[in-house]
């Protein structure tokens, strides 16, 4: 298999275990540069684990995630790790103001961009909280600050783990608008969501993950409208009850 020229990541023969339990078994997955890959699947199917491997936070027990045609080296060099950033499912705030949390990634790079920070907070309707201690925010506010903190870096690859869970519709719209802007800038996005509608709205390709294995990966419209795997049909049917 020759590396796809425009591949951002190639997951090759990856098997990842926690103790004796295999949490991810992925012979092959290509993530194309500039595309948005939606990952859906039930809880515990390995979605978040896949993001950790792509971010380089964990080394696969077997196999490798290839970047630019070569396996990701460990420890991950800064030049690679700084191309990618993750918005975690349970984002943690630093014990600082909202402003300092959003500017944190920039500060790590020795940069300051107060205007960008403020613009992001404006767009996420958080501007009034700019000086508030971030630890005291509500869950939905923290989720948006975490997205702003990642977006401030304008990374080449954005890994989003349930970025709009627990948000009200107005804020879902604000978050999705930012994601669309990143798409327009050519950012590669991996979007983990339990919300099939969100995947449908945002993802170019969608992957169904179950028990650590890829059930089906296809163009989003194809996967949702004419799934080829019976398990996909069952999963979507179950989801569509909601």
């Amino acid at each position: 298999m020759s590396p796809a020229r425009n591949a951002e990541f190639e997951v090759i023969d990856v098997r990842h275990r926690y103790g004796a339990r295999t949490v991810l078994d992925m012979p092959r997955l290509d993530i194309t540069r500039g595309e948005t890959l939606g990952i859906i699947g039930p809880s515990g199917s390995g979605k978040s684990t896949l993001l950790r491997l792509l971010q380089g936070l964990e080394r696969p027990t077997e196999g490798a995630v290839h970047v630019g045609g070569a396996p990701m080296p460990f420890p991950v060099p800064l030049s690679l790790s700084r191309r990618v950033t993750t918005v975690f499912q349970r984002p943690l705030m630093l014990d600082r103001s909202v402003r300092d949390n959003v500017a944190f990634g920039l500060r790590l790079r020795g940069r300051r961009d107060a205007a960008a920070v403020e613009a992001l907070l404006d767009r996420l309707s958080l501007r009034h909280l700019i000086n508030a201690p971030a630890r005291h925010l509500s869950g939905g506010e923290i989720q948006r600050v975490a997205l702003a903190r990642a977006m401030a870096l304008d990374p080449e690859v954005l890994l989003l783990d349930e970025p709009a869970a627990n948000l009200d519709p107005a804020n879902v719209a604000r978050v999705e608008a930012l994601i669309r802007d990143a798409q327009a800038r050519g950012t590669t996005i991996v979007l983990v969501t339990h919300n099939t509608h969100e995947a449908r709205r945002l993802a170019h390709k969608t992957l169904l993950l179950m028990e650590g294995a890829v059930v089906e990966v296809n163009a989003t419209a194809t996967l949702f409208e004419s799934p080829s795997d019976s398990r996909t049909r069952a999963f979507l049917a179950g989801e569509l009850v909601y």
Binding site: R52, Q55, L57, P75, L78, S81, R82, V84, T85, T86, F88, R90, P91, L92, L94, D95, F104, G105, L108, R109, P133, R149, A150, L153, L159
Partner: protein, 222 residues
């Protein structure tokens, strides 16, 4: 009695004792913190073989009886001891050395617990935002700053009130190695209770000041 206490408080000799107390305890605290905070943070942040042993040693060190530390430092610094030639015995340097040994495990162990208490997931999230190893460690240490401050203040409280070690290795020589605690012991023995009380009040005020600083630092981050 009150008059005598007030008179004792105005005694210029008292200032010399307070000043030496500050210099000895302050130096020991700075050295113990400069070593203890990074070492405690490192032990708290990393996983390595023997970590449990290091933790055990640090925790045990927190309970070191000062008089035993004084004894060991005395033996090491005595004329026939291995460090005899440097001539530190009965000097403020010996007192700083002994208090540093008492303070170090307190600073290191409490820093370690403070760093340990920070959500381990934070390290991953900070790294995912592009932090280097050092930046990650520094960020976690900063998150633990209240605990680290408490570690330093606890060590301060431990050594400023300590009498056994400084008495042994300093010798309580007037104008040379006499600090607040050793002066209190001596004044009490001599029956000069007013002076002993005055010294005790000063010691308490110093402790009060230290805790006020802690509260101030904690308040700033909340």
């Amino acid at each position: 009695m009150i008059d005598n206490i007030l008179r004792a408080l105005g005694d210029p000799a008292l200032m010399a004792v307070v000043s030496l107390t500050f210099r000895v305890t302050g130096s020991a605290l700075v050295i113990a913190s400069a070593l203890g905070v990074p070492i405690g943070a490192l032990v708290g942040l990393t996983r390595f073989p023997g970590r449990r042993l290091v933790t055990l040693v640090l925790y045990t060190g927190m309970g070191l009886p000062p008089v035993v530390v004084g004894l060991v430092v005395y033996v090491l610094l005595s004329r026939s001891g291995p460090f005899g030639p440097i001539g530190w015995l009965f000097t403020p340097s010996a007192m700083v050395a002994a208090q540093t040994i008492i303070a170090f495990p307190l600073v290191a162990a409490l820093t370690m617990s403070a760093v340990d208490a920070v959500d381990p997931d934070l390290r991953f999230q900070v790294r995912a935002l592009g932090a280097t190893r050092w930046q990650t460690g520094w960020t976690v240490l900063r998150e633990a700053r209240i605990g680290v401050t408490a570690a330093i203040v606890a060590a301060f409280g431990g050594i400023i009130s300590e009498v056994g070690a400084v008495m042994l290795v300093g010798g309580n020589i007037e104008g040379h190695t006499r600090v607040l605690t050793t002066a209190i012991v001596l004044s009490t023995r001599q029956g000069d209770f007013a002076l002993a009380m005055a010294l005790g009040i000063v010691l308490l005020l110093l402790a009060l000041g230290a805790n006020a600083v802690l509260l101030q630092l904690q308040g700033r981050s909340r």
